[in-house]
Amino acid sequence: MKEPLIRIIKRQQPPLLNKILIRVIAIVLALVVDAVFIYGVTGLNPLAVYGVMFKGTFANAMRFSWALRDLVTLLAIGVALAPAFKMKFWNIGAEGQVLIGGLATAIVMVNCGNSLPTPILLIVMCIASVVAGGIWGLVPAIFKARFNTNETLFTLMMNYVAISLVSAATNIMRGQASSLGKLNMATKAGWFPKLWGQTYNINILVVAILAVVMFLYLKYTKHGYEIAVVGESENTARYAGINVTKVRIRTMIISGAICGLTGFLIVGGRDQTISTSTAGGNGFTAIIVAWLAKFNTAYMALIAFLLTFLSKGAAEIASTYALNDFASDIISGIILFFILGSEFFINYTLVFRKSRKEAAK
């Protein structure tokens, strides 16, 4: 029988060092490809460009706080997606769940802003966002559980339903004005207060707590274990007496609710307004973040940092060299391709024909 040139063998337990090394190599390779791209298009010295990139995040305290703010937005959605993905439920609808949570927040802000005292107002906003996001996650889950309706496509479509609801609501709220502007501009009702002198500290703190709690939830609770089993094999879960329908629905409510909460953080703590671009594509990017981190929230923070760093850096490059922001999409796209490809070399080893013969000797 002809022996193939390369055989692929699955690694049982890839060593940690290997994992790190392969990922680092992938990122370095991606940076080299990006450098070639930058040089080819602009003729600029790529090293100088990367230097400028660094400034996007670290130039001063203000920049750093903006970067952190964007990082936690991405991380929060990644945390929300983690349980769903671990269950192999492809929730592509984070964008919509965030928007609908943000919308609920905004509606409460506008309608109860003057009648409720601040702490109660914030709590009501929070609850509204969580409920709205939870419902947005629940609907596809029910159909998945009852009829095995494809959740990837269902949640994707729900994004657009949310977008058109938000654009209708903003249209109503702005009335005759040309744009909505900041909500409750005069009273600042429902705006997050500064914490320790920083505007975004509440967002950062909430997301940090969320990330830790989710890590513990997935790793050490009964729920987390059930999610893992359902994700590995539905039949095994059933055989072990786990109520798969219940786990699915419960987990998707959690996932949607945290997305909704992210909408609350964005509207109350970052933008103080709502628009169709409130989620700003983060719902999609977070899917990549959650997947690459293998649902480990600590890795998620790392990857979210990398992506935020890249997009801030690209914006900096754009303004320094009179390029445009879309460079960040290309650069992060290439890096993502390399990281995705590198997974293969972590999980599998290649055995060449020649080396095997030598091994046989």
Partner: protein
């Protein structure tokens, strides 16, 4: 005929054509078991490559020829889109990366590429045009002026509209009446069985994805060079169209013939907010038309649910959709 209805048809058919191309390409891809969420990115790549090549040719050639312009645009569009499909297949088929994530990364990448280089073509302006390519791609095949109402509503479109329809019919026969199509479907349903039967799963997945990407890319080309009157501007519009094409694939229950009427129906639904109130002589508030814009997506969700409830075998998604195939895993 009511003039609003006429305007509605004339708007809906070209709109449908954009997503018909996108959806046909995605049907080919999904039939091989690859759920490529990179369709919007691919349509960006195809649309931009087609526009850029035509634009640069028109601008730099001392004596531009229409035929060269058309062929150049088509070749560049298909090549760029297939390159996108190739990246996707290499990562998901050869390197076994997750399909959803790879597709989303491809969408980010394609959108970035098109808009990044697009800014160079724009050169500070908010839009730029390729008039020769527009007139070539919007050229009518039939003497529509002499055909009255039929000329306007049926024969009055650019030739790519008819190419799309013919392509859907041919695709239907290839998929359901040929050995090639049977093999492709078996790869998407159960790659292990197909593999055991001696069908090269890898080759089918690669070819279906790359050719599918090429077809999807034509949707982008048609959008820029005919629907949008040969004008390039930095926009998020193509992304929305790409997702609508993914929705249409579900709506058609993975059948190319359904893509023809489904695409036109989506076109009508998309423009419903503008033309139906006109037709009925109603004045609708803007927020109502915002809500009406969700109709195509809601319809898709309903179809998705109904199909999964009825559990008819021939309407289901390909059984291995979204799953990578590892021969060694068995």
């Amino acid at each position: 005929m009511n003039s609003s209805l006429l305007a509605w048809i004339v708007r809906a058919v070209p709109f449908g054509t954009i997503i018909m191309f996108g959806a046909m390409g995605e049907i080919a891809t999904e039939k091989s078991g690859n759920l490529n969420l990179g369709v919007p990115g691919i349509m960006y790549l195809g649309g931009f490559a087609g526009f850029a090549s035509a634009y640069l040719y028109e601008k730099n050639s001392p004596n531009p020829q229409v035929a060269v312009c058309v062929i150049l645009a088509l070749i560049c569009c298909i090549a760029a889109s297939m390159a996108g499909g190739l990246i996707y297949s290499f990562l998901t088929v050869t390197l076994r990366a997750n399909q959803n994530v790879t597709g989303l990364a491809l969408t980010i990448f394609g959108k970035g590429m098109a808009n990044f280089f697009g800014v160079y073509l724009l050169n500070g302006a908010s839009y730029t045009a390729a008039p020769m390519a527009y007139s070539a791609f919007s050229a009518k095949l039939f003497p529509a002026e002499k055909m009255g109402i039929l000329g306007e509503t049926v024969f009055g479109y650019g030739w790519l509209v008819y190419v799309a329809i013919i392509m859907a019919v041919v695709f239907h026969f290839v998929l359901f009446r040929s050995r090639l199509g049977l093999n492709l479907r078996s790869v998407g349903e159960n790659p292990a069985t197909a593999d055991a039967d001696g069908i090269s799963v890898t080759r089918y997945k690669y070819l279906a994805t790359c050719i599918g990407a090429g077809i999807s890319g034509l949707g982008g080309l048609y959008y820029v060079l005919d629907y949008n009157k040969g004008i390039w501007a930095t926009t998020g519009q193509i992304e929305a169209l790409g997702w609508l094409a993914v929705a249409l694939v579900i709506f058609t229950t993975w059948k190319p013939l359904n893509a023809i009427w489904g695409a036109f129906l989506f076109g009508f639904l998309y423009w419903l907010y503008q033309f139906l109130p006109d037709m009925l002589g109603l004045k609708v508030k803007t927020y109502v038309s915002d809500i009406i814009q969700m109709v195509p997506y809601v319809v898709t969700i309903v179809v998705l649910i109904v199909v999964s409830m009825r559990k008819k075998k021939e309407n289901q998604p390909p059984a291995s959709l979204g799953l990578s195939y590892f021969r060694e895993d068995r």
